[in-house]
Amino acid sequence: MRQRRRQMLGWALVALLVWLIVYPLTLVLLESVRGADGWTTEFFRQFASRKNEWSALWGSLWISAASVFLAGTIGIPLAFLFARFDFPGRRILSGLVALPAVLPPLVGVIAFLFLYGESGFVSHLVRAVFRLDRPPWRLEGAGAILLVHAYSMYVYFYLFTRAGLARVDGSLLEAAASLGAGRWRTTREVVLPLLRPALTGAALLTFMTSLASFSAPYIFGGGFRVMTTQIVSTRLNGDYSLAMVETAALAALALIGFWVFGRGDRGDVLVATAKGAAPIARRFSSRWTRALTGTAAWVLAVVLLLPHLTLVLVSFVPVGTWTIEAIPPEYSVQNYVALVREPERLRPLLNSLGMATVATLAAVALALAAGILIVRQRVRARGVIETLLALPWAVPGTVFAIAIATAFSVSHPWAGRFLLVGTFWILPLAYLVRSLPITGRGIVAGFRQLDPSLEEAAATLGAGAWRTLVRVTLPLLRPALAAAATLAFVTALGDFVTSIVLYTYDTRPISLEILASLRQSDVGVAAAYGVFLMLASAVVFAVGGERREVGA
């Protein structure tokens, strides 16, 4: 009997996840082939016949590929530099190098706008130095998008490569040396092949993130369209069916990318015998090289930190005081005061905090249930549950937003569809689905690392299932829970890509208020919101820091 109940619970969770994840996506597919009277391929034909659709598809693809290339070109050598060489300031800098990760996408984009935009600090500086009467450049189009992507996504390559290098057994490098292989050959024939899983992982993450990227193309795209922005604008024009086709096309592209990069991960996993210690960092022998590397590293750090500093600086600029000057003439804390004092400014903050809290609590509860059913009860559906939990990761946020907007725009309770669009609940629901891969993977992995004999020990000491869960399991899971929950929370807090599709004025989150403030040229307020999100992300880094620590 208990066995049957356990299996039933497993399948119930599967049903819930299917309803949340697969069902909305299926509805999108159905809507895209349903006309006013029956099935039709008309919208697909429309899609295929329009040149701008193809160029958006192509734009998404090549921007993502180029982002992988750029991020790898920056991140991999940087990881080698920090892992293998010692120079002044190495320790501090190796922490700073990961800083772009604390900027949520939209916040990073507006920081770039303040810094490198037409009226940003850098272009003001260039104008002053070269006495130009016009801005030296426009931060627009594919180049601008790639700049932002390279800045924010090289971190994936950097962190993955560092972690990979830390796992490479130092004696393998010594073995190569004793067999007469020089540094270059050792890197090419030993280190890089061993890093392959880490590198394909970083490439996959970068590719999927670029494909789903919305903030940068939305703000900087100008006439340059990618699929994510194309979908949102088509939908805004009221062309719902075509938007469905576009959404399906982007989802297909994502799945293809997932498949292509995922193949690199198959093969057998090369876990280097991690018995030996990782090699220690080598000091540059020449003083000049040391000084040069040190200087270059500090310059790099400043470049990496500029967006953060810009954001903080701009957040202290009072409304309407900064027009044509190179440097803002006045500073005050009034923007921050406004966030708390003015109900209309406070509203988005409270909205985001509330919706992110609801979504995170639900996601953690679901992930805990999944962890218990998969790892402890080992229900038959465990493979299906894990796949379902990971699925939203392969689907761009815009696709999910459209899918959820479609599924929950009508009230057909018997078909599992409820009217949620326009209510408070639609955004938490979207955040919840999007955060399932984060919480699911983190918490299930936490369960796997938990020694089951601890729970068995509690049982032999007379603790019931509930007391064991509360007094033993959850405290032991705390690090995994904390890391997963904070990451999910902060992601929801700064969400832009799904919010822009699903928000209403009353439920508007921080990101949309940032956008509105920018439109009203309230740059200081926009920056203050940005600083808030940046600090929240920094907390996550601090919580997850110990876990993500890569070898010194």
Partner: protein, 368 residues
């Protein structure tokens, strides 16, 4: 670097020589003033407890570490600053360090390709090296599909294939099952002798060092305690450490009564004993009459009680097969291990022992 007589030809005929090597890690000396000579084709075992500096010595030989002072000389050439890449020493690592992304042939070919071998010649040499370790036909196996013993042989083939000038082995047998260890040891020894390659190996197991090494160098705290053939280390230890580390022994407090060309006369708990031979070198600078007697189980025997014998009580009896080991506690609360036939005594018996004339060594008591 030593500056005295830079161009004097290295007088000794030794093939490989370590001269006054010192290596410190953060102030603590891992190897201190170590001088060792190794003949061509010889197998030298570096033996010592953990932290004795044996692995550091091996790494200095391989070139992975540079000494703070001293030199490494190979065939009369100073190679102290020659990089591992240029040194042409083959090394077998403790955990083998096989490249997990390459198959067996790829691993063995790695060093050969450094010698610019390609194509057919390369394949032939790989085959040869694998035949040497009895693994022909394993070319396309993945490293992860091999047993521990096979991995060790691949590591050996990989190190030997490029015909290195010296072979270095870091705890070569420590990762094998005990049942496999002895057989592998014999095969390894036979193979190295067949090839005739100069070999330095590191081990913390005496049996392994004695079995594999033509000579054994015993290290403690970064210093060379004694180097010699196994018989010398066991039979004529030069320091109490050597006597204690090599083989079984008991240590007793003693006082020296007389010391001359004929021998040394000591008293243990008031019982006078005379030993004809003693480590004279150790006593040359000794200023004390306090001594320690290091005695092997076969260095004492049970005797009838009487004058000039040490009396005590048996506290423990251990049957080991050919001989039985008895632990005796003396009246002065010291313990002596005695080997004798299985019926010689029982726990609780009052017994007396005397020296047999072998396996007993008197050293000056340090710090007395």
């Amino acid at each position: 670097m030593s500056i005295e007589s830079p161009h004097v030809p290295y007088a000794s005929s030794s093939f490989l020589r370590l001269e006054q090597l010192t290596k410190r890690f953060g102030g603590a000396a891992a190897v201190e003033d170590l001088t060792l000579s190794i003949d061509g084709g010889e197998i030298l075992a570096l033996l010592g407890p953990s932290g004795s500096g044996k692995t550091t010595t091996l790494r200095l030989l391989a070139g992975f570490e540079g000494p703070d002072s001293g030199r490494v000389i190979l065939e009369g050439q100073d190679i102290t600053r020659v990089t591992p890449v240029q040194r042409r020493f083959g090394m077998v690592f403790q955990h083998y360090a096989l490249f997990p992304h390459l198959d067996v042939a790829g691993n063995v070919a790695f060093g050969l390709r450094s010698r610019d071998l390609r194509g057919k010649a390369l394949a032939e040499r790989v085959g040869e090296a694998l035949r040497l370790v009895d693994l022909d036909g394993f070319e396309e196996r993945r490293v992860s599909q091999l047993s521990g013993g096979q991995q060790q042989r691949v590591a050996l083939a990989r190190a030997l294939a490029p015909e290195p000038r010296v072979l270095l082995l870091d705890e070569p047998l420590s990762n094998l099952d005990p049942s496999l260890r002895e057989r592998t040891r014999r095969e390894l020894r036979a193979m190295i002798h067949r090839i005739g390659i100069t070999t330095v190996l590191v081990t913390h197991e005496q049996e392994e060092a004695f079995d594999l090494g033509d000579r054994v160098a015993l290290l403690a705290d970064g210093r060379l305690e004694q180097v010699g053939i196994p018989d010398e280390l066991y039979g004529t230890p030069r320091t109490p450490f050597v006597a204690g580390f090599v083989g079984r022994s008991s240590t007793l407090d003693a006082i020296v009564r007389r010391r001359d060309d004929h021998g040394i006369a000591i008293e243990v708990e008031g019982i006078p004993w005379t030993l004809a031979s003693f480590p004279r070198e150790a006593w040359n600078s000794a200023v004390t009459d306090r001594a320690i007697l290091v005695v092997r189980p076969e260095g004492v025997r049970f005797v009838e009680s009487g004058p000039g014998v040490l009396a005590g009580e048996i506290t423990e009896r251990r049957f080991t097969g050919a001989l039985t080991l008895y632990t005796m506690e003396t009246e002065g609360r010291q313990t002596v291990e005695v080997s004798a036939h299985p019926e010689a005594a029982a726990v609780g018996d009052r017994v007396s022992v005397a020296l047999t004339g072998i396996g007993a060594h008197v050293f000056p008591r340090a710090g007395a």
